[in-house]
Amino acid sequence: MVAEDLIKALEGGDLSIEEVPYQQRGYWFDIKAPKDRIVEVAEAIDERGYYIEDVLCVDYVDRLEVLYHFNHWEDPRRLSVRVEVAPSEPELPSIWRVYPGAAWHEREIHEFFGLRFKDHPNLAYLFLHEGIDFYPMRKERVEVSEEDRRLLNYLPAAAEEDTFWINMGPQHPSTHGVLRLILKMRGEYIEQAEPVLGYMHRMQEKMAEVRTYQQYYPNTARLDYVGPLAFSLCFVGAMERLCELEVPERAQYIRTITLELNRISSHLLWLGTFLLDLGATTPYFFAFDDREQILDLLEGLTGSRLTFSYYRIGGLYEDLNDGFLEGVKRFVERMWKRFEIYDDLVTGNIIFVKRTKDVGVIPKEVARRYGATGPTLRGSGVPFDIRQAEPYAAYGDLQPEVVVGERGDSYDRYLVRLEEMKRSLRVLEEALEKVPEGPYKLEKVPKKPVPGDVYFATESPRGEVGIYIVSDGSDKPYRLKWRSPCFSNLATFTEAVKGQLIADAVATLGSLDLVIPEMDR
């Protein structure tokens, strides 16, 4: 196995490796590395084909702890690498040369915690902006030093005069809300794309630290408003893992059904907007017509149409209402017929094919080093799906088949998502048959979890959503970190877009299915 091989290679010296119970912690191996050996550890991990999930920082006042999460496509056992840093000397070697995807995570840590990364190419603001003169995520007030301020305000575009720099976004029709891309152009070609995030940044993670778990829960639906249920479930699942709760079977099945409905509705929204980016307006309305059916169903069940807060720790808010299952059945039947329309309108359209084939190719290796997940990764031909790798809800029983593409271009991502909707329909059909009777929630749910940390991952329509919670035993999380799929997927965009036409960049951006608030948190 890959993990054992890695451990054998790493063991010894001042490095400690501990195997931890997955059922309680959500990861398998806890590696404590000294800070000067982190690059070497990352290299060893990279050699064995791990992809980077997340880099985060926890402030324990007496020490800062940087955690790197890695996972493997074939051997999905999560590694957690911890590095301790003294707050008096907040500096750490950067691993961006090994995992370029870590660069953005490190930028994030730098602006939120004031941890400097040696040898980092660009530590400019990613989410925040000028005028914030302390590090917001530190537990104590720490002023931004003069040196950091210089690093944070560095803007490459302002430094070069004679090139064609163009702002795409934040108010641009194809950046879906408020993403800003600073493009360096060479004629119609893009030489470099520098995304600027944070236009929808709401300090979700800081908010979590000042609210109780129950109070914070509705926020989870506001991260990714297109597929909120995956985020809700991620939070709920992490809490259940932390409190070691056994959720009733019925609740798990209902969760699966709603999750899959939500996945289809999210993919439909993507389908519409993606084609809108390519200049085709009509499929948008067809997709939204279908999506409307799902929203009606979910509205009947949860009471809201966008930010469903339906799950509860230990179960659901309410049992199924009358007619929901029949409604889902009707929807599934209707939806099967609709794919013909999409195939007629889109899949075979020569202009569409020419616009998307071989455009925005993301090779496997790039996807791994940047940590791309979800349909973006599967489009590149990697059969990795959290629903299979770490089954949650009722996915243990209802295994969806994984769809993969071949070339990793925009067209493959389109096909993968379209096919995924069909697979989701199959899962729905199966789940509808199997929904068991019984309670839909646990009677007793603890308000405070035990101290400890936990990782939980779900497969959102956009990729792997992860949550890392550090609990100190109180009713508020000590630290809560989201692993956002779009964040990593967008990082691959900067790589895929180099040397592309501006029109292709729009197509690539559309094919990644970004939801900005989820990325910005």
Binding site: E188, G279, N349, R355, L501, A503, D504
Partner: protein, 368 residues
């Protein structure tokens, strides 16, 4: 302006009723005198014109009036039709609130556009920026001069009508580039550059597809082209030329799938990004008039123009034209946008060679 007028009014007349009465009386007489003068001058000019020009002057004045009616009626109708067609293609209804079937919607829209604020950005190149929307309108109206709506319903049958229309249609490119360059906006600039290369790329196959028609009709007058189309329409003998012409027509009018100069998802609004209110709507109006013109020309060149049984010619003409316009709308609501290199190379690598081959084949066959 309004405030200034009011200030002047208050200053001179105040609230004294007698003074106000006198002022009004004075104004009334002044108006009368001006009107009389105007009448005299216009009368002189008209009689002098009539003597020199005969019925041509009447034709010109009626033509101006008629063409304006056609231009406006067409734009108002097309805006409404476009939305209605789009609506029905997209499982919606389209406009339905203002007037029966929403027919008055476009009138409401134009009033709204009239009342919209016009913003002139600070750093624009003023002459270019201000002239562009005025200039874009010229080719639209000029082309109308020679279009034969019916056997006798044509403002003027110019013997080089075809060349004249093609020459003037190049002005559109100029206006678009003036807008793009004058806006000093990167998106506008890219839109302008794209627009030029697109227009020039598609102008050549367009010319080449009209040439066989000219060869067969042996005239550059549009009316004679129509008259030459009996007993059969040219589309039957020149199907390839018709298709090439139609594709080029879509490209020349910047419609989807060739709407790259104003590609929304790439360039925000392309060359008219910086235009607002009425200036923007002039571009809009010109676009719809251009669609009408290219379709009217397609009708004239290939579909027998006003020729047709039973119904009067003008009805046939509009029926054919609007059928073609419907097809263009259909394209727009069905296809995604092509990419820029694909667009240019489609013309240079495919349409132009094809049009040349078609020309040669026609030339050869005519000699047999």
């Amino acid at each position: 302006m309004r405030r200034w007028l009011r200030e002047q009014f208050d200053r001179y007349f105040g609230s004294d009723p007698v003074r106000l009465l006198f002022a009004l009386g004075g104004l009334f007489f002044a108006t009368l005198v001006v009107l009389a003068l105007l009448y005299w001058v216009v009368g002189k000019v008209v009689t002098a014109g009539l003597e020199a020009w005969g019925w041509d002057l009447v034709r010109l004045l009626l033509g101006l009036l008629g063409v304006m009616v056609v231009v406006f009626g067409n734009a108002l109708f097309l805006v409404w039709a476009e939305r209605k067609v789009a609506g029905h293609m997209q499982i919606r209804i389209g406009p339905k609130e203002v007037g029966p079937y929403g027919l008055l919607q476009s009138i409401a829209d134009s009033v709204k556009l009239l009342a919209k604020e016009i913003i002139t950005p600070r750093f624009v190149d003023r002459p270019l920026y201000l002239l562009a929307p005025l200039l874009i309108f010229v080719p639209c109206l000029v082309a109308m001069v020679v279009i034969p709506f019916d056997a006798r319903l044509q403002v003027r049958d110019i013997n080089v009508g075809i060349v004249m229309i093609l020459a003037f249609s190049s002005l559109t490119v100029l206006a678009i580039f003036m807008a793009g360059w004058g806006s000093v906006n990167k998106y506008s600039l890219i839109g302008g550059v794209r627009s030029i290369s697109q227009s020039i790329a598609y102008e050549i196959p367009m010319l080449l597809s009209i040439l066989p028609v000219v060869m067969m009709a042996r005239s550059l007058s549009l009316k004679e082209v129509v008259e030459a189309q009996s007993p059969y329409w040219f589309v039957l003998v020149q199907p390839v030329a018709f298709l090439i012409y139609f594709v080029c027509a879509v490209a020349e009018t910047n419609r989807t799938p060739f709407d790259l100069p104003e590609a929304e998802s790439e360039l925000v609004a392309g060359y008219h990004t910086e235009y607002s209110g009425m200036r923007f709507s002039l571009f809009f109006l010109a676009e719809y008039t251009n669609i009408f013109i290219v379709c009217a020309l397609a009708t004239t060149f290939f579909l027998g123009g006003y020729k047709g049984p039973v119904l009067p010619g003008v009805v046939w003409f509009f029926l054919k034209t609007y059928a073609l316009i419907f097809v263009i709308m259909w394209f727009r609501w069905t296809f995604p946008r092509v990419r820029f290199d694909q667009l240019l190379n489609f013309s240079w690598k495919f349409l132009i060679p094809l049009a040349m081959a078609n020309l040669l084949v026609t030339g050869g066959l005519l000699k047999l």
